[in-house]
Structures are given as structure tokens and as C-alpha cells.
């Protein structure tokens, strides 16, 4: 019953070495940082407690011992200042990486991110480049409540001039970060707190993941799930459960929110005729609103056998209580239920 002939999509091939080793998402980021800093002396990292403390989530760990405090640079609690310092360093020949402890605190730095970093290249008619990377963990699930749990990637994806990456696996955490550091533009990398300890096969050496290429993580004929961040693994788990129930799902991970690989998404939607969009962020104007719009505008329109379905965080601040926090964002069982409904009802 599915037009599954179109399943010729890019099972995206990563560049670089193919030897792999198992490490966690956090270790993979540290590996990328180490690799990049050893390879290019213009690269340095700054942020609150990234040095001796090892980072609020332990991502930098002992990096300061290996690279030194000059390039693994502790700052005062000044998000606007450090992003701005990153902009200034970037336009004068360095390759700064700024760590923001929680992506919620990018709110403090929004002027330097959106009004400065993002616009300088265009606004100056190309006279300058801003090769700046901003790393910030997003997402809920740690009981840190409303000011430490947001998924704000849509803010950045709404700003022309920024690239926005959202790695969902350890290998992409490394590969996308390396690509971000290489990129001559400001790149915001939204990491996920709950993934930091998740292990995965990670390519060794200087192994980049291209920006702007979605990954089809799984193929099935009945519906296409598009998911980001922590919802990718939840969707894959849901897909396994659905398969046990006779429903076959394709799972697409855009990886890069901006620039968006809409070609792959549209193709994969056409191939099943049903689409479920899953994000942790609040529903209204989250990233999947854009994906829904892109699909609704595209040639997929005539192939859709069901309305576009979004499964997203509730439009509420993230609550503290664990059971409420869990209820606020899509869990595996929610994905299973939504997918089942979509396939059974349409």
C-alpha cells in the first residue's frame, strides 16, 4: 500500500576515516575539540567553568590539561560578553568556540548571536567572516525546571546567517562539531543533556559530518517520522515497537536545521505518504512548524494520504516535578501512539 519505490535516498555517507571506536556523546565532543585544537592553532574554546571544573556537564573534562588554559579558557559569568568576544576573535583570524552552559542562557547573548554574528558577513557585503561556533546543551529531563530545560533551536533557525546543528548521535556530535569549526560562518550547535552519556560508534581521527545533509536512520513503508535531538533515538525505539505491531516507519534525522535538507525530507515523505514530525521543543513555532510548512508547500502535497502530524512538547515551560516534566515532551509511547493513529486512521 505504500509507494516505496522511491527508497533510493541518501543513506548519508560520512566523510573521512571509517575506523570507529565506542565513546559517549560527551566524549565524542571532547574528541572533536581535541582534534580540532591540535590541528589548527586558531581554534580555542571559552566558556564558564570549561577549564579545571571540566564543564557544567563534564564535556570538556580534562581538556585543559591537554591543551592548556589559554585555549581552554575559563570566563566570568557573562554570556553576552563571551559570545561577543568570540565574534571579535572570529573576525580577526581566530576560530573561537564558545560554550554556553545551558542553551537557555543564549537569551543573554542574543544580541551578539543574532544581531552581530549572524549579520556581519552579509551586512558588510562580504568583507568579513565570522567563523564562530556556539555550543549549548538544550532539552529537558534533568529536573532543572523552566529556565534550564528549553529547546530553543527555532530561535536560531529563524535567523539568517546562522547555521544550526543538532547532533543526535555520538558520531554526529563529533562530525558535525568538526564541520562547524571548519565552517566560515557562525554555527550554533545544540547538544542534548540527556545524550551526553549515551555511547555510540564514533569514527576516529578527523572525521567530519557534512552540514546540510539529513540522515535516514531507518526505512519503512508506512509512515515517515522526522525527529530531532533526543527524539531521534526515541523515534527509533518507537519504530521498533511499531514494527512489532506491523507498522513500518522511516526515521529521518535532519541533523542540520539550517541549512535544511528539505529534499531528503520531502522525498521520504512522498515515499510513505504519511508524516509524523517529532520534536521536544514546544509545539508553536518549533522547528517542526517549518518542516510542516515545507512539506505542505512541496510536491509532497499531492502524495500525502493523511494530514501532516506534529508531536511536540506542550506549549508550557518545563515543570520541575519528574512526572510533569516527562508529560511535557514526547516520550517513546507517545510516538508509538501518534504513529499508530496516523497509519490506522488514514
Amino acid at each position: 500500500m505504500s509507494d516505496h519505490g522511491a527508497a533510493t535516498g541518501t543513506e548519508v555517507r560520512v566523510t573521512g576515516a571509517t575506523e570507529t571506536t565506542v565513546m559517549t556523546y560527551a566524549e565524542a565532543i571532547r574528541d572533536a575539540l581535541t582534534t580540532a585544537m591540535r590541528r589548527d592553532e586558531r581554534v580555542f574554546l571559552m566558556g564558564e567553568d570549561v577549564g579545571r571544573y571540566g564543564g557544567a556537564f563534564g564535556v570538556t573534562g580534562d581538556l585543559v590539561d591537554r591543551i592548556g588554559p589559554d585555549r581552554v579558557r575559563d570566563t566570568t559569568i557573562s554570556e553576552l560578553g563571551i559570545v561577543g568576544a568570540g565574534v571579535g576573535a572570529a573576525v580577526t583570524g581566530m576560530r573561537p568556540i564558545v560554550e554556553i552552559q545551558f542553551s537557555d542562557f543564549t537569551a543573554q547573548a542574543m544580541d551578539q548571536i543574532a544581531n552581530q554574528a549572524a549579520k556581519i558577513h552579509f551586512m558588510l557585503g562580504g568583507a568579513m567572516q565570522v567563523p564562530l561556533v556556539i555550543r549549548a546543551p538544550g532539552g529537558s529531563g534533568t529536573g532543572a525546571a523552566a529556565q534550564h530545560s528549553q529547546s530553543l533551536e527555532a530561535w536560531f533557525a529563524h535567523v539568517p546567517g546562522l547555521k544550526v546543528l543538532m547532533p543526535a548521535t555520538a558520531d554526529d556530535a563529533k562530525g558535525l562539531l568538526l564541520s562547524a569549526i571548519e565552517d566560515p560562518n557562525p554555527v550554533v550547535v545544540i547538544e542534548h543533556k540527556l545524550l551526553y552519556k549515551t555511547p555510540g560508534q564514533v569514527r576516529t581521527g578527523y572525521a567530519t559530518t557534512p552540514i546540510g545533509v539529513a540522515s535516514v536512520r531507518r526505512r519503512g513503508a508506512d509512515l515517515t517520522i522526522v525527529a530531532t535531538g533526543v527524539e531521534v533515538s526515541r523515534s527509533l525505539e518507537a519504530a521498533e515497537r511499531l514494527a512489532a505491531d506491523g507498522i513500518q516507519a522511516t526515521v529521518v534525522d535532519p541533523r542540520t536545521l539550517k541549512p535544511l535538507d528539505s529534499e531528503t525530507i520531502v522525498r521520504e515523505v512522498i515515499s510513505t505518504g504519511r508524516v509524523l514530525l517529532v520534536q521536544e521543543a514546544v509545539k508553536t513555532l518549533g522547528f517542526m512548524s517549518e518542516v510542516a510548512a515545507v512539506i505542505a508547500e512541496s510536491e509532497a502535497f499531492v502524495h500525502l494520504r493523511a494530514p501532516v502530524a506534529r508531536l511536540a512538547g506542550l506549549d508550557i515551560p518545563i515543570p520541575y516535578a519528574p512526572q510533569l516534566e516527562r508529560a511535557a515532551v514526547p516520550q517513546v509511547e507517545d510516538i508509538v501512539a501518534a504513529a499508530t493513529r496516523l497509519v490506522r486512521e488514514w
Partner: protein, 344 residues
């Protein structure tokens, strides 16, 4: 107190445009007992939280103020019930000192419907409107402009309420701190910016971060008085706060107070204490604000050992009851999650 590092040394100095210290608070028996009780309630509350958290019975993250009890105790004693405070991520002490109910606090931390925020806020967002606590804040320096606004509001409403804005030394790095203080200084608002200088913003040493002889010198850039005080001495804190409150109520504008203190525990549970030495921690444990105060009031004959034992027993029972009742309360309900976003 033999350390001559200016960041640690506890001195009282007016450095800004303000006048000489005027008030020298010396407790009588009632005040001594009250201050002791408050400090003890804070200490025991934090220890109970630490215990619950350590046993996996509490969720999220915790920022404990053990070692810093004298600051909120002294400061809030200088306030009226209708005065405001804004608090921080390390806010249990402020909340208790301003008069909050331990059971409702505990219920909040245990994510109960009976908690101050109905389990929606947790440790970093407890507020208690009844006692003028405008809320903890998960954002470093987030409360600073809010405090300025509360002070503006009192002024405009024609009350003589004062607002105390608690914040950490690390908060001095934030633009929010700057902007909040600037507006307050320009409008001479009745607000006190009270820095709990525990020497670190997470792992960043404020002595390194801010190349000042003492942090209260920061006030010089704003045209407001700055004063440094021994933050482990509730009477000293109450003295400078009393002066600042008097200035504020008299329409003379804001004061910046730096209370020198120390947090005994790590910043939060992720802290491995790599950025400070065992010796330093030990040193400051020797200056335990509660023990020191205990000795002092005993020595001065204000209270007897039995009084203190009675306080301790009372607090123990109070806390035990609070934890028990909080535990027994219903979990935060998901029923009105969506309808709770907007006020009606």
C-alpha cells in the same frame, strides 16, 4: 580570621559616596535566640535536603547554602515583613530567613502539589509572596533588575518598602547586574544589592575575575556606597543592612553590600571541588557562622546551653514534621498543566 587575602578578609568599610557606618547591632536575648534559630533552621533544612537528595528521594539539582547562613539571617532581620527580597539559585536560606514555611518548601523540593510552586518550580524557583520573597532565580543575576523594578514599584505606590536583592559574587559578571544597578542608582531607589561573596562563581575565583582590592569597590563605578562585611557574623550583616535600609527608606538610594562568606559544599552535585583546596575549605569551616555565633552569645551570657539545645530540638522536630507531611502530600498534578501557563 588571620587571612590577609582581601577577598577573604572580613572588614567593614564604606567605600562609596555613603556616610560612615551608623548602626552597631548588638543582640539582646530574644534577638540572639531568633538569629540562632533562623541559622539553625537553614542549616538543618539544607542538611535534610542533602540527605534526601543523596538517597535519591529528591530530583533535579541542589545548591546548598551551608556555611552561608549568617547572611540572610542578619539581612532579613533588618527588614519588615512587607519588605521584598529577590533570591538566587542558592536561595533556601533567603527564603527561610524571610519567613517561609519549611513544609511548603520541602513539599516543593519533593515535587508535591502542596509546595510553594505546586511542584512546577523546584528549588530554583521558590517564591513566597506572603513574606515578600519575590522568588529564587535560576538565572545568575536574573533577580537584579527585578529587584530594581520592585523598588520602583514601592516608590510609585507610595509605600516605604525596601527590596533586598541577594546575589552571588559571580553575578557581578552579568550585564543584568549592571543594568539593574544603574537604573536603581539613577532613580535613587530603595533597594540593596547584597552580594554573598563566597569567593567563587561556580569554579571561577572572584579575586581573579574582578581585579579589585575588594569587591565592594565595584560600587564606585555607580556612584552608590559600597560596604564589605563579615558575612559569617549575623550581627555585622544586620548592622550594615540596617544602615542601608535606613538610607533606602529615607530616599537616599541603593547600597551595595558585600558579605564575605563561604559555601562548604560544592557548587552543585556535579562539583568535584578541583578549583579550591581542602585547606581553604577547612579554614572556612573553622569560621562556621553558627558555631561562632553560638560561642559569642553564650560568652556574652545572652543565652544558656539549654536554650540552644531547646532551639535545636525544636528545629529538629519542625523539620521532621515538615519532611513527613511533605512526603505524605499528593504529587504535583498534571491536570492543569496547559491551563497554568496564563493567568486569568
Amino acid at each position: 580570621m588571620d587571612n590577609d587575602d582581601p577577598q577573604q578578609f572580613s572588614v567593614r568599610t564604606d567605600t562609596g559616596a555613603g556616610g560612615e557606618p551608623m548602626t552597631e547591632v548588638r543582640y539582646d536575648r530574644a534577638s540572639a535566640l531568633d538569629a540562632f534559630t533562623t541559622m539553625w533552621r537553614i542549616r538543618r533544612f539544607e542538611e535534610a535536603v542533602e540527605d534526601l537528595y543523596g538517597r535519591g528521594l529528591m530530583h533535579g539539582t541542589m545548591h546548598l547554602s551551608i556555611g552561608q547562613e549568617a547572611v540572610p539571617t542578619g539581612a532579613c532581620r533588618a527588614l519588615r515583613p512587607d519588605d521584598y527580597i529577590t533570591s538566587t539559585h542558592r536561595g533556601h536560606g533567603h527564603c527561610i530567613a524571610k519567613g517561609a514555611d519549611l513544609e511548603r518548601m520541602m513539599a516543593e523540593l519533593l515535587a508535591k502539589e502542596t509546595g510553594y510552586c505546586r511542584g512546577r518550580g523546584g528549588s530554583m524557583h521558590i517564591a513566597d509572596t506572603a513574606t515578600g520573597n519575590l522568588g529564587a532565580n535560576g538565572i545568575v543575576a536574573g533577580g537584579v533588575p527585578i529587584a530594581t523594578g520592585a523598588a520602583l514599584s514601592s516608590r510609585m505606590r507610595g509605600t516605604d518598602q525596601v527590596t533586598v536583592c541577594f546575589h552571588g559574587d559571580g553575578a557581578l559578571g552579568e550585564g543584568a547586574w549592571h543594568e539593574g544597578v544603574i537604573l536603581a542608582a539613577m532613580w535613587k531607589l530603595p533597594v540593596i544589592f547584597l552580594c554573598e561573596n563566597n569567593l567563587y562563581g561556580m569554579s571561577m575565583s572572584s579575586a581573579k575575575a574582578f581585579p579589585l582590592e575588594q569587591l565592594s569597590d565595584r560600587a564606585r563605578g555607580y556612584g552608590i556606597p559600597g560596604v564589605t562585611v563579615d558575612g559569617n557574623d549575623p550581627e555585622a550583616v544586620e548592622s550594615v543592612t540596617t544602615d542601608a535600609v535606613a538610607r533606602a527608606r529615607a530616599g537616599e538610594g541603593p547600597t551595595f553590600i558585600v558579605a564575605q562568606t563561604y559555601r562548604w559544599r560544592g557548587h552543585s552535585k556535579s562539583d568535584k571541588n578541583l578549583y579550591r583546596t581542602r585547606d581553604e575549605i577547612e579554614d572556612w569551616r573553622q569560621r562556621d557562622p553558627i558555631e561562632r555565633f553560638e560561642h559569642s552569645i553564650l560568652e556574652r551570657g545572652l543565652v544558656g546551653r539549654a536554650d540552644l539545645d531547646q532551639v535545636r530540638a525544636g528545629v529538629r522536630d519542625e523539620l521532621r514534621g515538615a519532611v513527613q507531611r511533605a512526603n505524605a502530600a499528593p504529587d504535583a498534578s498534571a491536570a492543569d498543566l496547559l491551563s497554568g501557563v496564563y493567568a486569568r
